[in-house]
Symmetry: C4
Subunit: 279 residues, 4 copies
Amino acid sequence: MANFKGHALPGSFFLVFGLWWSVKYPLKYFNNRMKGKCRNNMAYRRLELIEGVMKVVFTFIGILAEQFVPDGPHMHLVQDHSWVKLMNWQHSTMYFFYGLSGIIDILTYFPLNVPQGLDRLSLALAVFIEGLLFYFHVQNRPPLDQHIHSLLLIAVFGGSISIMIEVFLKDHIVLEMFRSSLAILQGSWFWQIAFVLYPLGGAPEWDQTDHENIMFITMCFCWHYAVSLIIIAINYMLVYWCMRRNKDLAADVTIGIRKLNPNKREEAQAALLAASDEE
Amino acid sequence: MANFKGHALPGSFFLVFGLWWSVKYPLKYFNNRMKGKCRNNMAYRRLELIEGVMKVVFTFIGILAEQFVPDGPHMHLVQDHSWVKLMNWQHSTMYFFYGLSGIIDILTYFPLNVPQGLDRLSLALAVFIEGLLFYFHVQNRPPLDQHIHSLLLIAVFGGSISIMIEVFLKDHIVLEMFRSSLAILQGSWFWQIAFVLYPLGGAPEWDQTDHENIMFITMCFCWHYAVSLIIIAINYMLVYWCMRRNKDLAADVTIGIRKLNPNKREEAQAALLAASDEE
Amino acid sequence: MANFKGHALPGSFFLVFGLWWSVKYPLKYFNNRMKGKCRNNMAYRRLELIEGVMKVVFTFIGILAEQFVPDGPHMHLVQDHSWVKLMNWQHSTMYFFYGLSGIIDILTYFPLNVPQGLDRLSLALAVFIEGLLFYFHVQNRPPLDQHIHSLLLIAVFGGSISIMIEVFLKDHIVLEMFRSSLAILQGSWFWQIAFVLYPLGGAPEWDQTDHENIMFITMCFCWHYAVSLIIIAINYMLVYWCMRRNKDLAADVTIGIRKLNPNKREEAQAALLAASDEE
Amino acid sequence: MANFKGHALPGSFFLVFGLWWSVKYPLKYFNNRMKGKCRNNMAYRRLELIEGVMKVVFTFIGILAEQFVPDGPHMHLVQDHSWVKLMNWQHSTMYFFYGLSGIIDILTYFPLNVPQGLDRLSLALAVFIEGLLFYFHVQNRPPLDQHIHSLLLIAVFGGSISIMIEVFLKDHIVLEMFRSSLAILQGSWFWQIAFVLYPLGGAPEWDQTDHENIMFITMCFCWHYAVSLIIIAINYMLVYWCMRRNKDLAADVTIGIRKLNPNKREEAQAALLAASDEE
């Protein structure tokens, strides 16, 4: 769907996942640091099951939308010896791989002995396939159109590489936050593409060959990422303060502080050492 | 052999290896998890010897086929001051490096102290050399021909990098399954190239400059990979169920479940912890 | 600011940071080796707080300079339906990301449980954004201008990758010294760009299309790096000798030598082994 | 020196180092496996000192040759407002970085606390600088000349990446053998370039624009690498058999076999396990 909605729909999916991850991972991280690893594992595993189901549902909606919009291919691939609506078929393919990744997420939940890391590998592959299709997708288009999509590719391939590293480094909070930030970036950038290429309600068209516009769009991409990083930071802080207040109420304050503030412990140790030195 | 058979032959080799790996690695993985590491090592080492011998035999067949087909170079490199059938020589070179990798596999079996990882390094190099030759091979060809071969390069270089990582991370099931999936993809893609560039029995020729065809081929490549992933998944499941049934028959059920379902153990532990908390 | 000062200002910032790092990291390294890890941690943490504050101050100066120089955009982005001074806005964006990295450095100091490695990730992102903007920045310029900026990109992306690796390998002295050397290289190269593109006081202009000039500039870039490496080596040696003299004065000579010269210990062990063998 | 000797000289340097490494590293590897790590360390450290001195001597010869050949720049960089013999200056720069790497090797030997890995980082940088200069060096040349040099770049950048990994993985025999093979490849390829671009004694010139020649050269590069791998394998085997014979003479046969043949031990263990199972 080369129109506003066709970009807004996947953009919204990525935004939802990015924002959700930016809350989930800090939550998991603080939980692990406070209560040890094994306790809340089950809850998080269930969350990931739900995530998998959501992925499958979202991608199913996406595929249906691409196939059965009025000007869609309606599951026909060839007609009169020519291809039918290849663009929609390509988008369906992208959704399909995200769906596969969702299915692996679901299978990982059940005691089927799915190897650790396969869920992240399948996600990395889905992201890579998206990038691959986009890469060959935008050739023979006006410069601004090409440029705005190739900026998207930076977020896409960056995300794919980062998730690939997560196959080997599980539960690495920095990688998880990086992934969240790239998902939000992708989501908001899809919306930006929609606004630039298919201006809403009579807004003036962008000149697709103007070099100034291309320069602005590059910078605009960086601003999107800056906003994405700030959102990640705010969510992280919110989670931190919620967790802290909850813990304080739960009265096990002393133990908590010891675990929460390794810095203070170091300070104390340093002071102790200094004191013992002076003696 | 720039014809149907010249692509179908290597395609079949890759398919055979990819399918075989997609059974072997899950088998090895479950065996290790169930019975500990040392027990079945010898059997797997023997399998790898056989694999090495197969590689040498296959590549020998490949080289002979490239050299001694009726229009082959028959081991002549220069004739009347010009090169003879360089295409066939290049293919022979590709086979040769896979042969070298097979020889290293064989040497690894014998107690010669071949360093761990050398077998995978030599395989990675063989794959890389294949990619390198293909890369310079397809210049000056029609767009569709170039594009269909450059998609192959994604599978080739992806495989090479993945095997290179296996040099450092031995017996990593996710990497091994990834490698299997790329081998199947390569195999089936060689067949696809054969069908597109050398249509069998009077099928219509593809228009090699049509942009729509190029877009379809890109998507088709993704579908091949999707099928490859599904084959991998099915083989994995089959192995899992076979292993499980065998084990159940062998009556050591309780121990087995404990080892097979770490998830259930976690559940039990969580329940235990919850109970002890409530007290 | 596409003039001499606009390149000299960031160049000076990078030089200051590069030189400072080339002293700080050896200092930290020797301290850790001599006294164990925990002792001076607090001091180094405070240094990093100061570093973060410096980054924020420097980038604030940079942004103000870019915005409010006489021919700057004065915070206006759009005027009469066209973009205002996008070059200055791009430079402001680069400074902004370094500022973000500074803020993360400051937050890392306080007991807020900021995950380890986030400070380096944010620095790597700032460097990457700088490279991204430069990459699209220099299109449609004369060959020498393009070339001199694309050499800068080698230092920029090299630095970004190296810092990205530091996210996973903390306190790796070789990586830290590599980063310092690239920062010095970037700083001195900014000055070189300033001298080449905006010759001072009546110096003759460079012919921007001469192939010989491009060849010289490539080599000149290598010389800059050689000088950068030599500066790093000298600073390392100076730190080493200062630390050693201080330690000698502190009278714990015997313990020191044992810790400082693992080589001598190996020699002694080897001699011991040889002796026990001969018996 | 854009002539036969100017390529044969560095080619010989690389060949000497590659061949030497292909003997040194297996020797060190077997020694470590047989006698434990600490014993022969001193001997190997001394070898590396000698290697460093050799590097410095070789690069000094190289720089002198480039500068003071009859048509060299004789240390003049600018004359009559134009650059003097930039080609020779670029080659001198390449040698200089290898010299720097040699100096670090020498410093590493002495008890100066040079961080582990710095010697390999400096070597990786020297190789990278060589690649960088070559990359910009060959623009505006006939196709065959460009192609033959860009194949060299594969060996160069491959080597640089591999040595960069060695910074983190010390004494990894597979990486060391890979590096040796790339050094031999680079050496023999320099000789090949010399023979192709500057044919000796009246041999016919190569047609530098013929596509067939370019195809042959690509394949020829692979053959060089195959020969390089075979040389590595032979040297490895020779070292293995020499070490084995020496050890057998030294009468500690039983212990030796135990250490040398972990495979046999596994077989024995497997047999033992099987036996205990049957009871």
